[in-house]
Amino acid sequence: MGNPVVELKNVTKVIKGKKIIDNLSFTIEEGEVFGFLGPNGAGKTTTIRMMVGLMKITSGEILICGKNVEKEFEEALMNIGGIVENPELYKFLTGYQNLMQYARMIKGVTKQKIDEVVEFVGLTDRIHDKVKTYSLGMRQRLGLAQCLLHDPKVMILDEPTNGLDPAGIREIRDHLKKLTKEKGMSVIVSSHLLSEMEMMCDRIAIIQNGKLIDIQKVHDYVAESKQKYFFEVDMENLPFLNISYKKMEKGIEIELEKDEVPDMIQLLIEKGIRIFEVKPVAKSLEDRFLEATTKEEKIHA
């Protein structure tokens, strides 16, 4: 991986005597999609708000492309495009007028650039309609267009898929993939939708109670050799089975390597057990995530 684009160094945030973020440090590299995962109230939004300068940092520092967010605000923010939670736009303006608002605030954003961005997010047909007539998905796309105007190096998206339907979520995901691949942008996404993050991100940081619990590559997380498989079977002849399994309501769960699956099926048939369905139980990020966060809680308790 390339250079660090975003660096958090011992970032702490205290609000009214309460430590919301506790000594958070991590680095985000060029061209990666970085997921920021945690239960509600873990401090995801607070961290993101400190990155974009909406909130002051109590101690520590955040560097965006080497510029300190607090001391060199303008230089640092030149490199950031962001949506913090739902993109709230001016509803009484058209999509285009909204983009013009943001274009006027940064030097060198041309009309062609605006048209290009509008086309990229697929809003060309509706861009001259008032935003109040837009669906949530369209607003989300306009929000995305808004942060692409100045070709930022980092995109920061707080809960970008909140409230979107599956098609909308997929759309956002595809856009992000395109951006990182084609333009080499880094993307920081926060979410509590784990399955989503699994599909979008290269690396994921899990935070809880304002502390960093774990950072891992998604592939390490998901790709594990042994998996659980669910066999929907006739329960009658089960007692004759002499292997370890977990009894479920309509069948059994067995932990296996992929190669062992046909053998297992054969074994079951030989034992006279009728099989209706076999499917892998994906050990999803969700399981991992819950494992990681509950472990942490146990330590605290």
């Binding site: 708000r49 909130m55 002051k56 923010l77 962001g82 949506i83 001016y90 303006l93 605030m105």
Partner: protein, 317 residues
């Protein structure tokens, strides 16, 4: 900075509410024009004997002046002024304007300035608070522009909006006034009474000056509304309190001033700078310099509060 102000201006004028405000303002001027036209007395005959009438007025006023008790300083000043101006008319052969002309109509319309001030306050109270209300503040403040610049552009826009409403009243009343009542007989000078002397003034300059002076309280109250808006992020509070003070502040201050001399430190004791041009100040010993300094102090305090709170605030929710 220029672009930021353009942005704010667009945000104000793309809302239907603003268009309604401007339309109401124009309707008010039209309404005043109709009323003036209906009740305009045609008193051409009096023009010939105006000298006699003015002499009569002077006599009456002098009589009243001698009967007025020493304590009513304000009334006395008013009378003295009236006498001096009338005497000047006799000496220099300037007949009083009895008929409405375009010029007097513009002057009459200056009463609409507080009404226009209402709209400026609504804009000032909303310009920061609505961004919080709409949630758009999050996208606004993550531009590579320091927060104080954004706030400053908003304040400048408020002042520009106030000047814009003044211009609307002035221009619309001028167009209507000259169309309906003509330009008068050419004797269009304003006689003002300053430091015990009567001075002739160009009527156009006089009108501009009186429009600007009348909007000092509007600007001050708008600044306060802007401050409340930036500090508390609540446009209802800012609008309510400011409009209440705009219309009641003067009265309340006057009541306090009858009993306590510290009333002179209240904002509204100082917003009316015309009190130093004609008539007595609210509290004995107040001067124009004192008032200007008080206004500057209030202004600085409002701005300091607005800017300190706005630039340091954590944007949550």
């Amino acid at each position: 900075m220029h672009n930021l102000i353009v942005n704010e201006w667009i945000k104000i004028f793309k809302r239907p509410g603003t268009i309604v405000m401007i339309a109401l303002l124009i309707l008010c001027v039209i309404g005043m024009a109709i009323l003036t036209k209906l009740y305009n007395h045609h008193v051409h005959s009096e023009k010939i004997q105006w000298q006699q009438q003015v002499r009569q007025e002077i006599k009456q006023d002098q009589k009243q002046l001698s009967e007025t008790p020493q304590t009513a300083a304000n009334v006395k000043k008013d009378l003295e002024q009236k006498i001096a101006v009338n005497q000047y008319r006799l000496d220099h052969n300037i007949p009083p304007v009895k008929e409405s002309t375009g010029w007097t109509f513009i002057e009459d319309c200056s009463h609409l300035i507080s009404f226009a001030g209402l709209f400026t306050i609504i804009i000032a109270a909303g310009i920061v608070a609505s961004e919080f209300g709409w949630g758009t503040v999050k996208l606004l403040l993550i531009r590579p522009i320091k927060r104080y610049k954004i706030l400053l552009s908003k304040y400048i826009t408020v002042v520009l909006f106030d000047l814009f409403t003044l211009a609307v009243i002035f221009v619309v009343s001028a167009v209507l006034g000259f169309a309906l009542f003509g330009t008068g007989d050419g004797n269009n000078v304003h006689l003002s009474y300053t430091n015990g002397k009567v001075v002739e003034q160009n009527i156009f300059l006089y009108l501009i000056k009186s429009y600007l002076l009348s909007s000092i309280d509007v600007i001050m109250v708008s600044t306060m509304a802007f401050m409340i808006s930036a500090v508390f992020r609540n446009s209802s509070l800012a609008t309510g309190l400011s409009i209440f003070l705009l219309f009641m502040g003067g009265t309340i201050t006057a009541i306090i001033a009858t009993k306590y001399s510290w009333a002179k430190y209240i904002l509204f004791a100082n917003t009316d700078l015309t009190q130093y041009m004609d008539g007595a100040p609210l509290v004995e010993g107040m001067t124009a310099g004192f008032s200007i300094i008080m206004l500057l102090i209030y202004f600085a305090v409002f701005q300091l509060l607005a800017f300190l709170v706005f630039t340091r605030r954590d944007i949550a929710a």
